[in-house]
Amino acid sequence: MHRRHLLTSTAHASLALLALGAGLPAAVQAQAARSAPFPAGTPVRGGILNVAVAPEPTILTSAFNTTMNIGQVSSKVLEGLVSYDLDLRPVPALATAWNVSPDGLAISFKLREGVKWHDGQDFSSADVKYTLEEVWKKLHPFGRAAFANVTQVETPDRTTVVIRLSSPAPYVLNYINTYGAQILPKHLYEGKDVLTHPANSAPVGTGPFVFKEWVKGSHVRLERNPNYWGRDAQGVQQPYLDGVVFKFIPDATARTVALEAGELDVALGSSIPPSSLSRFRDPQKYTINLDDGRYLSTIFLTQFNVRRPYFQDKRVRQAFAHAIDRDALLKVVFLGYGKAATGPVPSSVVNYYSDDVRRYPYDLQKAAALLDEAGLKKKPDGKRLQLTLDYDAGAGVSATRQAEFIKQSLARVGVDVELRAGDTASYLRRIFTEQDYDLMVSSLHRLPDPTLGVQRLYWTQNIRKGVPWTNGSGYSNPELDKVMEAAAAEADPARRKALIRQWQQIVQEDVPLLELVEQTWVTVASRRFHKTSTQGDGLFASYADAWLTPK
């Protein structure tokens, strides 16, 4: 068995060497080759890839935990039904085709044939059914919402899954990759407590790499899956790499140096801070990928506690919106890595983004006038209002800079802001449990579908005391609620798009929170690192198509 694999892989390697540059991406990935952050070339077999992920994950499956770093590691071992291209459209992974019924009440998936779990068992529709019903629907923080309308999961044969819905749920197709909906092996998990299952720390998947070891505080080591289903356009078996080692380096400067010293090949998820990126500008030595985190569509925001009397007046919120210079914020704090935000749906969510909304250009006079109108006149000392602003000091150096920028901006219109830093736990407590704050800053993933990633911030039913990242502003607008709920259940793409546009307009009129900067997730890699396809969810790529130029 081993011998044969060795022989075939040698054959494949020489094939790969023969096939030159063009036409390499498999059919799956062909449409994604819009920008080419990776230099062209023929994939070379072999090599161990060293990847930095920060901080160290707590478990190695994202089937019920959506912490980014967990997804970054586990996506090489466990897989989802699809992955996403740069326009965030689904492309095949474990599912090769999918189809939504005209009434939107059934979604069927055709699964890939001949896929095996790493322990040799066959992958089948039963695994998908089990994971959806027992894990995503019950334990997954977003899955509960995404699959709430699922009434039944049918498995007419081993490679077909049909999801029956009580009302249309078009967003399901936007959340079924390895980050949002990772498939677990039923034969290992069934009948056991999923949350404490030992396989959570030593995953058994279908992916291109097999879990080998996890030395806590140090690294996770993965090795090539010799039986992986993936083949490139030439029929060469993937993955190309012999293995992947994830190194957990807690200090940002140490990561930067390790990448410079060649001890790392890839630093994922902006683990190299923007201020150090200038050291990796040399395209002869490094590649900087800005598309990997497109799927997350993260927006940096300032949120009002609208329970405060002065924030109940929307003119005050609008004044604040005019008082912050988003372009300067982007330049000064984010060092240009990102885009000024115009509303709750980021422009990367091309399907639903609308710029036909009320804008708040930087205008101090207008801000002052609105504050005057709202009755917050300047006192003799030049101040109108004293407020606190909470931020999570645990989120890194840039968190402090972000907060300071807001403070200085608001000072120009006579709003005196006192900064309150807390570590993550005390920050979350203060905002979501005690609800004792005036302003806060944070960054939130909006995901490819507004129903999943945006609705939670504005929905009245999501004002939930004690639960992080819910509607913490306490904003409630029955009209908006109706629009959002209608959009969630609208099967017709055009009508849904119109509803989501209306939703963006209402939010930008009311501004219960200020959408400031669409953040870019930065992946810095050595020039030796290549990937034959680009992905919108590249942070959670399987790396079946990744390869290293030999040293």
Partner: protein, 344 residues
């Protein structure tokens, strides 16, 4: 040590070790109560990291972690578990606390012992050198080195060491404890770990090195003026013998006192060094457990370090008797503090 003093030391240990138990339990109790003050719990952090949660999951998690129980009951359970040496479960790391600590302890001990040895050897050597050549250029040079080593923040020094010795010169690895890709075994592995330990151990040692050098210099100078040194010189002992046999042993007493105290601070120093050098040790684990409000784990680490510090202080007491036979280990009334008077 003479047989009688060994016997004394044994009697001393038999008396001191049981005394240490209530101290450690008291510390555990205090730790537990102090940590209740921190806002937020592990469920807040877990839900915060996941990016979304429901009140039901959070309540369910709190119930399964026992966090919904009254503090008094939690304390009762905690103390009960301690009796059976069960340190509880880390819900964040998905591992029993004891396993986690035992996994990470060797790395930290290695770092601490290496740093201590470097600090002691170099510190004592520099201090003696300074005292021998007092007010000469060697003394001045040592003073400057010591001042710089004392004043530099550890994490900055660590980063600079990485930048210089890893990135620029490429002599040492920038972090980690082993070369993960190489997967050495046997002696190659030992050498590999030693290679990785050089920078972090030296960086961790600098602060203590400076302290010991200063302490050593002043206590050597004090002893050089003592009567018994004059006697030794009068008897015709060589300067080397005076320094090494007569003065050094006495001058080491304050350093030994300091050493006992500093074991605790060494662990907090290890937090920074372990983070900068990605060293898979306990200091970093402790820091991460604070941020994650992983109180079971934090309590376990704190308890472990309390035990460690108590033990090392007992060892230091035994060491006193070895360095200065006038210190009576087994005497009941007098506390085993170092003798203050130096005249014989």
């Amino acid at each position: 040590m003479k047989p009688t003093s060994a016997h004394n030391a044994w009697r001393f240990l038999r008396r001191r070790l049981p005394q240490a138990v209530p101290v450690v339990v008291g510390i555990a109790l205090l730790n537990f109560l102090v940590l209740q003050i921190a806002p937020g719990d592990v469920v807040d952090v877990l839900a915060g990291e996941a990016g979304a949660a429901t009140p039901e999951t959070m309540a369910q998690l709190r119930a399964s972690f026992g966090l919904d129980q009254p503090v008094a009951l939690q304390l009762w359970h905690y103390l009960g578990r301690l009796l059976t040496l069960d340190l509880g479960f880390s819900y964040r790391q998905n591992m029993p606390v004891r396993d986690l600590i035992l996994d990470r302890l060797p790395a930290t001990l290695l770092l601490m012992v290496a740093a201590m040895v470097i600090a002691l050897v170099l510190g004592v050597a520099l201090g003696v050198l300074s005292a021998r050549k007092v007010h000469g250029w060697v003394d001045h040079l040592v003073s400057v080195v010591v001042l710089v080593a004392y004043a530099l923040p550890t994490f900055w020094l660590g980063l600079m060491a990485i930048v210089l010795f890893s990135a620029r010169l490429g002599w040492f690895p920038s972090g980690g404890m082993v070369d993960v890709a190489a997967a050495h075994t046997g002696w190659a592995r030992v050498l590999d770990i030693a290679w990785h330990a050089v920078l972090p151990a030296c960086v961790l040692a600098t602060f203590y090195l400076a302290m010991y050098a200063k302490l050593m210099r002043s206590s050597m100078l004090e002893i050089y003026g003592a009567d018994f040194i004059r006697t030794a010189r009068a008897k015709g002992a060589s300067e080397a013998r005076v320094t090494l046999a007569h003065a050094l042993r006495n001058a080491l007493l304050p350093v030994a006192t300091m050493l006992g105290y500093q074991v605790a601070s060494l662990l907090s120093g290890a937090v920074l060094v372990e983070s900068v050098f990605s060293w898979p040790g306990l200091g970093r684990l402790a820091f991460e457990s604070i941020l994650a409000r992983d109180l079971n784990l934090l309590l376990g680490i704190l308890l472990m370090s309390a035990v460690l510090v108590t033990l090392i202080n007992i060892v230091v007491d035994v060491l006193y008797a070895f360095l200065d036979p006038r210190v009576q280990l087994a005497s009941d009334a007098t506390p085993s503090a170092p003798a203050q008077g130096l005249s014989p």
